[in-house]
Symmetry: D2
Subunit: 437 residues, 4 copies
């Protein structure tokens, strides 16, 4: 009579490469990637996932692996999973797929993760013009807590979540993605909106056969060639959810995803033990291999009912979320403010990205006074449960953004005091080269 233990529909063996798994993983979005499993609504099922790099980063003290990373092969996703209603009929385009995250965690036997910043020439990050080198911190898990030998004096409970959860795009939606992203890549430097103070990072990541894996589709076949040429990369979040990196999508939360093709073809990946709002260092969460226990519902015709298109086609929608009931609880926060004036003193117009950059820079500098290097704090603010807020977006010309850091993650009192702080001085000079390479 009892419901059985969650059925493991996508198993992962960490000793094998992502594309050698029993159910080979995929790292592109495309309607033609065939499902590897089927589930029915209301059934709790379990999906296992490799870390987003598929094992490229090692549990050691060197950032050489980070420096050498090849972004063309990420993120490895588990799925697609075809979703059926109670009568066994697949979800239909126009439905809404409600996915509840019943539970999640690191993959048993692999309780560690990493936070890294990429080299400026290899993907960079939000502050790559300040922190151009590849760096890495390893995090070990003690149940709900994480600590890092590279960032001593810090320990915190994770707000664990999947960075990526999404449905497969239809062909039409895929075309929209490829067109608009190609436009940015091709004409970006000539255009108005380039967020150029965020440094010249790659403008977009267009379809590429290099590093492409398409699950069960054999590499080199004509089908593979065709799909690989047009399949969307997984780096940005888009209409199907995807790499939205919303740190609050944790235990007990629920995401309502639009369904674009029959069966929905749900894929997940990029597990984060913890992440700060913005995931600023790019590989900035505590990245790990992990599992999800999920339960689905289909809301028939729900896309039209609940997701008003905001753009030129009915496909221009975004998912909705409900936050779960067991997030870590912090009651004391130190908050850093930033305005949309950049580091050169130049005024930007209501630019929340610039304001947030400034808030993050302020926080890094402040915290480095307590015995840390700035590189350490860049990584920490990428992965600890800090909150990035758009506080003011209307008071021309300044946007105001804030970054709130929970004070209890430190083993010292980091609030301003009337006396000058003397930190634990854990931080010998930790230039990225010396520390991690």
């Amino acid at each position: 009579m009892a419901p059985s233990t969650p059925r493991l529909v996508v198993p992962v063996d960490l000793k094998k490469k992502p594309w050698e798994q029993t159910l080979p993983l995929h790292n592109r979005w495309h309607p033609g990637i065939p499902p590897v499993a089927e589930i029915k609504v209301r059934e709790v099922f379990r999906v296992e996932m490799v870390d987003w790099t598929g094992g490229m980063i090692k549990d050691n003290d060197s950032a050489i692996d980070v420096k050498a990373i090849d972004l063309s092969s990420v993120h490895y996703l588990s799925g697609p999973i075809r979703v059926l209603d109670e009568e066994g009929n697949p979800a239909q385009p126009g439905d809404l797929l409600a996915v509840e995250i019943c539970n999640l965690g690191p993959l048993p036997g692999d309780e560690w993760g990493f936070t890294a910043s990429f080299d400026r020439e290899n993907g960079g990050g939000f502050l790559t013009d300040h922190f151009p080198c590849a760096t890495k911190a390893i995090w070990y898990f003690e149940g709900i807590f994480a600590y890092s030998p590279q960032i001593p004096g810090v320990r915190f409970p994770g707000l664990t979540h999947p960075g990526i959860v999404g449905t497969a795009p239809s062909r039409d939606l895929l075309n929209i993605w490829n067109d608009r992203e190609r436009e940015v890549e091709e004409n970006g430097l000539k255009q108005l909106k380039l967020c150029e103070v965020l440094h010249s990072r790659p403008l977009a990541n267009l379809p590429s056969t290099k590093g492409c894996h398409l699950g069960k589709i054999q590499k080199g076949t004509p089908e593979w060639e065709k799909i690989a040429t047009e399949a969307a990369r997984t780096i940005p979040g888009r209409e199907n959810g995807g790499n939205c990196d919303i740190k609050n999508l944790s235990r007990g939360s629920k995401v309502y995803l639009p369904v674009f093709i029959e069966g929905a073809n749900l894929s997940t990946g990029d597990m984060h033990f913890s992440q700060g709002d913005g995931e600023i260092a790019f590989c900035g969460a505590i990245e790990m291999s992990g599992f999800l226990e999920l339960k689905c519902e289909i809301i028939k015709g729900g896309m039209k009912e609940y997701l008003t298109p905001m753009g030129p086609t009915p496909l221009h929608v975004n998912p909705i979320f409900e936050i779960g009931p067991v997030e870590p609880r912090f009651s004391e926060w130190l908050v850093f403010e930033g305005i949309s004036v950049d580091e050169s003193g130049r005024q930007h117009y209501l630019d929340a990205s610039v304001a947030y950059k400034r808030a993050v820079l302020n926080a890094i500098d402040y915290l480095s006074k307590f015995g840390y290097s700035k590189e350490q704090m860049y990584l920490l603010l990428s992965c600890c449960p800090c909150e990035g807020r758009i506080s003011g977006i209307v008071d021309s010309p300044n946007a105001v953004a804030t970054l709130a850091v929970p004070t209890s993650i430190f083993d010292q009192d980091i609030r301003p005091k009337t006396k000058v702080p003397v930190g634990p001085q854990t931080g010998e000079d930790t230039g990225c080269a010396k520390m991690h390479l």
Copy 2:
């Protein structure tokens, strides 16, 4: 032996104009505006404030007053207050002024407020290209709760805070402000970073003698002419704090402000009964007259110790905050996501402002399905305690922003359901013209 009731250092009489008060208010930032009061550190004192328009908006059902508003005369600030240490010596440039908000609230006898969106030709707001008309909602307070006849079915506890708290700029800092803002106003349209999708709102608000009030300095005198010509407007938040509109700066919080001139010259204003992150409608908080009970500390030399300059001069700093312990508590949130693709389908590069705009538009459309007009929801999301987050800022080319709305502020269940929602249908067609003019 007991400390007396907080000393009222800046009283306000709502029957008088802001500039006719016993201690006349001011609406510019300038080192030359003379202090109206002195306080010592550790003394709890009370400041009263008019609403930011100085009484231009009336408690009635018409938005004519909103349409006619003259932004040149805002915001009316109470102060400046000169701050002395325990020996009676004034705070010095380079110190940090810690201001604790011991208590705050509406001005007794005036328990109401308003939320308004400005006309597109008169200041506009974050979504002025979608909502070009002036609209207004009146809010009545029942202790900690607010409700509005214009937005029935909604009631919530306020996260009350001052929109503006700041120290006076030094002459050098003032010059920096005026130069960089003039640059935007003069060259903005030719420049790269214009956030142009946020519509052609005023680029900056430069010094103007029109509408200027300088406290005790007599209008028309040579001193007034000089200062009025160079004093900074109060609309944007800047290095001195100012109009930072941080909704969490509520009871029990603490702000650490840089001191730029002797005595610090602290001014406050723009009381909000409640505000959502972003204050999207511009006059978007629940604006009211109110009081603050404050307590100051001086951290000698604290600017250098705690606020690393992030820009070309030592003056390029930002304040720090600590959040207080009695914010309203919500446990259930519905979250809307936005990516940096605008309503025309165009891709923007890691632009958090565009992503947030999209999240807000998604939320407005969704909520309007529950019996509300979109104008009503635009105003509501400006002023209810919703949270705007920068969730992802590194996954090129999409920034991901989220807007979290507490579900319990509605008297109906606004979560997606398998059945189509049938709202209270309170919303007859509420075009802004009909509803409010």
Copy 3:
């Protein structure tokens, strides 16, 4: 069109005695005490209240006033207030009166309070066999925060609430009260259930003409004599609510009170700036004069619908509450456990009172290691926002109770450490005699 500022229906002048107020206060429960004001449902109204002793305790450093207190004249209540429905008809017996606490606070101009333990011969307290002397701590308020010169190193936000809110009893209910309490007083020492380890405190407080005040009824008249002889004392909480001392009945909460007589006759008093669960020192909250802003609804016939009698008559009911949304937020708690074995080592059977006593004693001893006297901690645990829980009530023979103390109210880290704590040593020997008399 705006609702006016809350109507002040019961004003208080602290310069006058409770019985000399414009609307004289009362300190007994009786159906015959005439209403002093009328309100309609949905109207927000304001009630002012004296502290529960009516001004007997002074803002000074001596506990002589505490030692001399005469309990026969407490608690002074504001009211009764007659409640009418929207048509002007009074609430009826059998209705449920929903009272929302819209706001509350200290009486402006009187921002201080006191916590006291009574002398063993004069009322005592939960731990009177350990702390037999009268002691007193004065608390000063800085907005939402309280601090005490007698207990340095401690500061906390108040969870402010009225200790007493209740409706008038019917004559039948009054008889039930007097009969059952007389039975305890007369036969208590011979009976089984005496909680005798809680020391021989007064068993009950029966009606007494001494110290009796009945509002507008003239002292000495036949009517006064009759009512004074039979009116119930206000000390215990009972079926009508009354002195329930529920610390969470704060801003935004709602209490559903049974209506026993026409008009409900609502009275309130005993304002607490803050209280710990149990209010262990008896006069143990931070007692103060204050105000309430209330809003009522009448649920017709609600007593029968919602309050099942649990006893021999339909009058044996208890109120229900809803907790409000703005309680102070603490995330770190140190918890002390107690079992139902008393200080002599004797086993009691599932006795939660004994277990809680033990938990409180454990907490006092522990905290006194950080530089405090035990008397200081007895008073602090009476009034700070600590939580007293019944954790286990079934595991014969031990009940388990816990007392959770928020750690952030102290200015030092009070958690156990591997090194021996060295407190601030503020506590010279503070025998109650020396400290406060």
Copy 4:
């Protein structure tokens, strides 16, 4: 370099009986039960545990197993575990053992639990005089959530915790326990403090060879006979922690246990997926098999430093706890009040047990109006995350206790409304006999 996955120091195979495990379980407290494993401080280790009955209760719809349960063989504990410091020296009497709960959960592959009330003649429960029959509800887990076919319309996140965590007693402490509990059992009915209104349940559970299991000690040997005759039963919480049933002892919490014998000999058991304060139905939590991941520290001499004895010997101490950071978050609570007047109308003197009983009865009756039987609500309030508070313990003669129920665990609005509620009417007449036998 990475710490390995937590070492499994006590494995459990659910297909075997508790006493047939590789490391046989024990169900008594005694210094002579030999350790089954050793751990060092700072090592995260994993312990598996059977449910407290050792598998006597089945996942089915009948309460026959509950009716037949034999309490002499409970609780089955995993351990003892001998704790060593970093140098390999065992913990010493007088030390304090800090145990952090890094993680916990159901035993993988066995994701269900049960809540039961025992028959009046077989252990009973807090309300056995109201609910004399054995009843049972099965709970299935969906990750962090639990739901029960027997109590439809309810679902909640668990506040998972071990009911039992304790160190082994010394011989002296064991003698104290046996003496004082024998005194209650032998003289209880003649004594004052019997909490007799809680019905004649077993007064104590004295040592008994029946059902006794002592880990590796062979049954029937002289050693077994000796220890079984004197070993303490595990039912009550005591000085060593033991069955304290503190629901907040969940993920991330920390318990400081006194060490009475060399090595500490830590044992754990009685895993609860969730429990309400009081665990009123006796087998009232959601009982399950589960695992703990723990980390220990030894505070040398910490017993003397932190745990003041409160009784005739230095052994009369109680543990201290710190609450963890990831408890489920609820913001809306409905609170039921009880006073120390029993169901017959009789007045008890400051008796928190009677007051809590009354609060629980009030809650059961209230909630049964929403389509449930009272038996269903008795079980629900035993196991859902409700809070039992001692609100007032000084206002003679009434103690006031409260029971706060989070409203969001129900799929309907259970708050009082002006209209009469019409529940889901799921509750056909559910007399315990019909429903579960």
